[in-house]
C-alpha cells in the first residue's frame, strides 16, 4: 500500500531530497523474515521515527541503514547513493546505540575523538571538534573520565557526542532513551529535538515508546510484523490511523469489531459482534467496500467518550453500562465502563472538578459519530 502523499511522487536516483531511502527491503534470518518489503523515504533534515512493538523489525531496519545487516532483497540508499556494497565504516551515517557501546578502555575525550583520529584530522581540528561536540552535550568537564565512571544519562550524552562529532549525513538512534529513568528521558527528549533543529541534521530514531515518537518526530513510520503499517505526521498517525493495529498501538483506544450494515451520505452504520449499533461519520470518505456486509473495526479514543449519570439527549452512540474502575490521575480521570453488551469502554475525562460518578453505579457513555473512525478489518 502507498503510505503518504509523498510516495506518489517517486524521486529519481540522483534526487537528494531524501537522505535515506529504502526500496522494497527484505531481511531474512535463518528462515525467519524480520523485514518484509519496507519502503521508506526520509527527507533531509527531518526527525523521523520508526515505531513499533518489540520484534516488529524496526531495529533491523535501522541496522540495514547503518550497514550492520545486508538486505536479503531490495535497496538501501543514503543521499541517493546505493549502500549495498558500502561497508558500515564507509557510510555517511553514525549510530547512537541503545547500550551506548562506549569504549571502556578510553577516556570520554578519546571516545569522542575516535572517528576523527581514524580520519587523520590535524591535531588542532581534532581538538576543536571534540571540544565542540562535548560542549553540545554539556559534557566538557567529564572529558578525562572513563565511561564506567559516568551515570547512564551522562554515557548517553557521550554516545551522542561521539556520533555527532563526525558530522554524519544521517544520525541513527536505536532506542536512545530506553535505559533512562522517566524524568531524565523527558529532559533528553527535549534536548534531542532542540539539538536536531539546531544542527538541521536528519535523525532517524527507533523506539517502542509511542509517546516519545509522537512528541519528538516530524514523521513516524509505524511498523508491525516486518511491514510498515503507516507513515505520517504524529497527528495523522494519531487522528487518522489507517489500520486497526495503528489505532490500537498509538495511544489508547476502544476498538469494536463488527460488520458494515449501511453506507450513505450521512455516514456508516456498523453493528458490532456483540450487537451494538454504531454510527460513524468520518471526515474522510470510506475507502472500504460499498454496500453492507464488510468486516470493520471502529475505533474511539477514550478522551472522545463522555460519561454521565443521566441519559444524555443524543440519539447515536449512547449506551448504558456499569462503572467498573476509576483511576484518578490528577489532571484526568480514567474510567472503565462495562456496557450491557459486555463490551468494556475506557474513558478519559479532564478533571473539571464537578460531580464524579461512583464505582458500580449505572452510567451512560456516549460519543459523537464524527469522533470515531471505521477501519477495514
Amino acid at each position: 500500500m502507498s503510505q503518504t502523499a509523498v510516495s506518489t511522487q517517486r524521486p529519481s536516483k540522483t534526487d537528494t531530497a531524501y537522505d535515506v531511502e529504502l526500496r522494497k527491503v527484505f531481511k531474512v534470518y535463518n528462515g525467519e523474515t524480520a523485514v518484509r518489503g519496507v519502503d521508506l523515504q526520509i527527507r533531509s533534515g527531518e526527525f523521523f521515527s520508526i515505531l513499533g512493538p518489540s520484534g516488529c523489525g524496526k531495529t533491523t531496519t535501522l541496522r540495514l541503514v547503518a550497514g550492520f545487516e545486508t538486505p536479503s532483497a531490495g535497496e538501501v540508499l543514503v543521499r541517493g547513493q546505493s549502500m549495498l556494497t558500502v561497508p558500515p565504516y564507509q557510510r555517511p551515517v553514525n549510530t547512537v546505540f541503545q547500550s551506548y557501546a562506549l569504549f571502556g578502555h578510553m577516556t570520554i575525550w578519546d571516545n569522542v575523538a575516535f572517528s576523527l583520529k581514524l580520519k587523520g584530522k590535524t591535531k588542532a581540528e581534532l581538538q576543536d571538534r571534540v571540544r565542540e561536540a562535548l560542549e553540545l552535550v554539556k559534557m566538557t568537564s567529564f572529558a578525562h573520565r572513563y565511561p564506567a565512571q559516568l551515570s547512564g544519562g551522562q554515557q548517553q550524552r557521550v554516545a551522542l557526542a561521539r556520533a555527532l562529532v563526525n558530522r554524519p549525513a544521517v544520525l541513527l538512534l536505536d532506542e536512545p532513551l530506553g535505559a533512562l529513568d522517566l524524568k531524565l528521558r523527558k529532559e533528553m527528549q527535549v534536548e534531542l529535538t532542540s539539538l536536531q533543529q539546531e544542527l538541521g541534521m536528519t535523525f532517524v530514531m527507533v523506539t517502542h515508546d509511542q509517546e516519545e515518537a509522537l512528541s519528538m518526530s516530524d514523521r513516524i513510520a509505524v511498523m508491525n510484523e516486518g511491514r510498515v503499517e503507516q507513515i505520517g505526521s504524529p497527528s495523522e498517525i494519531y487522528e487518522r490511523p489507517r489500520t486497526p493495529f495503528v489505532a490500537d498501538f498509538i495511544g489508547e483506544t476502544n476498538l469494536f469489531r463488527g460488520r458494515l450494515t449501511q453506507h450513505d451520505r450521512d455516514g456508516l452504520t456498523v453493528v458490532t459482534d456483540a450487537g451494538l449499533q454504531l454510527a460513524v461519520k468520518s471526515q474522510e470518505p470510506w475507502a472500504g467496500g460499498g454496500g453492507g456486509g464488510g468486516d470493520v473495526v471502529v475505533s474511539v479514543r477514550p478522551e472522545k467518550v463522555h460519561v454521565s449519570l443521566y441519559k444524555p439527549e443524543v440519539a447515536a452512540n449512547c449506551f448504558e453500562g456499569d462503572l467498573r474502575n476509576i483511576m484518578y490521575l490528577g489532571t484526568h480521570v480514567h474510567y472503565v465502563v462495562e456496557l450491557r453488551s459486555g463490551d468494556r469502554v475506557t474513558v478519559m475525562q479532564v478533571n473539571t472538578g464537578g460531580e464524579r460518578p461512583k464505582l458500580h453505579v449505572p452510567v451512560y457513555v456516549h460519543w459523537s459519530p464524527v469522533d470515531c473512525l471505521a477501519l477495514a478489518a
Binding site: P88, T95, F97, A101, L102, F103, F114, P147
Partner: protein, 302 residues
C-alpha cells in the same frame, strides 16, 4: 499507576544476621582461612624457606650438614656460563610465549567470535583435550615426529623435500614448549574474548574503523587482561619447564631447570648451588606476577 506501588511490603530488617556477625566477627575469617593457610604454609612457605637455607650453603652434597655461611652460591650464578643459561631460559620462555600468543589468538578469536554458538564448548574442549594426556607422553610423541627417521621427515621425503634435523636442537625445545602450553593460552584468551561486547566492534565500524583498525584499537585493548594473563601463565610455565628441554633439547639447550636438576639428581650434586638457582627463578616469577597484579587492572572497564 499500579506497577509503581509494590504490593509486597518491604521486608523488616531482621536483627538476627547482624547479631550473629558481631559474635563471630573475631574468629570467622580465621576459621575460613585455616585450611588453605595451613596448605600454603606446609606446601609453599616452608619448602621455599628450606630451599633458601640450602642456598646459603656452598657446595653442599647429600648427607652434608646444613651450615649456612653466605651468598657464595648467588655469586656463582653471575659467572658468564650460568648467566648464559639463565638468558637462554628466559629466551625460550619469551619465544614460546610469543608463539603461543600468535597461534592462540586467532584460534581463540575464531572460537569466541566466529564459530557457531552451539559448537563453542565442544571446540574449546577439543583444544584442551591434549592436556588430558601426560606431558611426558606428549614430549615423547614429538620425538617420534621430529627424529631424523620420524614422521615429519618421512612426510617431507614423499615430496622430495630435504630432511630436517630438528631433534636435540633449540627449535625442537621451542616446538615442544609451545605445543605444551598453547591450550592454556587458548583457554584464557577464549574466556577473555568471549566476554567481548560485539556492539563495541559495531560501534567502531560505525565510527569509521576498518576491521583491522577495530581489531587493534578495540578488540586488543578490550582483551588485554586475557592477553597478559595468558602470556604470563605460558611464560612462567615455560620458565620452569624441564621435560621439553631435557627430552627434545641437546647439549646446547641447557636451561635453568635442567641445571637445577643436575645439581640435585644429576652428576654435579651441588644442592646449595641448585637451591640458589631455584631462588632466583622463584623471585623472577614472583616479580612477574606482582607486576601483573599491580598493572594488570589499571583501566576501568564498562
Amino acid at each position: 499507576m499500579t506497577e509503581s506501588v509494590s504490593p509486597v511490603p518491604p521486608t523488616p530488617a531482621t536483627p538476627e544476621p547482624e547479631e550473629r556477625r558481631s559474635r563471630t566477627q573475631g574468629l570467622g575469617p580465621w576459621i575460613l582461612l585455616g585450611p588453605p593457610g595451613l596448605w600454603l604454609l606446609l606446601l609453599l612457605v616452608l619448602p621455599v624457606l628450606v630451599i633458601f637455607e640450602l642456598s646459603l650453603v656452598p657446595g653442599i652434597r647429600p648427607g652434608d650438614l646444613v651450615n649456612p655461611s653466605g651468598l657464595d652460591n648467588y655469586v656463582e650464578i653471575l659467572k658468564p656460563i650460568y648467566l648464559r643459561v639463565i638468558l637462554r631460559t628466559v629466551g625460550f620462555a619469551g619465544a614460546s610465549t610469543a608463539i603461543c600468543l600468535l597461534l592462540g589468538f586467532p584460534v581463540a578469536y575464531w572460537i569466541a567470535l566466529m564459530s557457531p554458538r552451539r559448537w563453542r564448548n565442544a571446540l574449546v574442549v577439543a583444544f584442551v583435550l591434549p592436556l588430558w594426556t601426560s606431558s611426558l607422553l606428549r614430549s615423547y610423541a614429538w620425538i617420534t615426529i621430529l627424529r631424523p627417521t620420524g614422521v615429519l621427515n618421512s612426510f617431507l621425503a614423499t615430496f622430495g623435500i630435504p630432511q630436517l634435523d630438528l631433534l636435540n636442537q633449540n627449535a625442537a625445545v621451542l616446538i615442544g614448549m609451545s605445543y605444551s602450553f598453547l591450550p592454556y593460552m587458548v583457554l584464557i584468551l577464549y574466556s577473555s574474548l568471549e566476554k567481548l561486547d560485539r556492539r563495541l566492534l559495531e560501534a567502531a565500524s560505525d565510527l569509521g574503523a576498518t576491521p583491522v583498525q577495530a581489531f587493534w584499537q578495540v578488540t586488543v585493548p578490550q582483551s588485554i587482561q586475557g592477553i597478559a594473563a595468558g602470556s604470563l601463565l605460558v611464560f612462567i610455565s615455560s620458565l620452569g619447564d624441564f621435560i621439553n628441554p631435557e627430552l627434545l633439547g641437546g647439549a646446547s639447550s641447557m636451561t635453568a631447570s635442567r641445571l637445577i636438576y643436575n645439581q640435585f639428581l644429576g652428576a654435579t650434586q651441588n644442592w646449595g648451588f641448585g637451591s640458589s638457582l631455584s631462588m632466583v627463578i622463584i623471585l623472577a616469577v614472583s616479580a612477574a606476577i606482582a607486576l601483573l597484579i599491580r598493572y594488570g587492572d589499571a583501566t576501568p572497564k564498562t
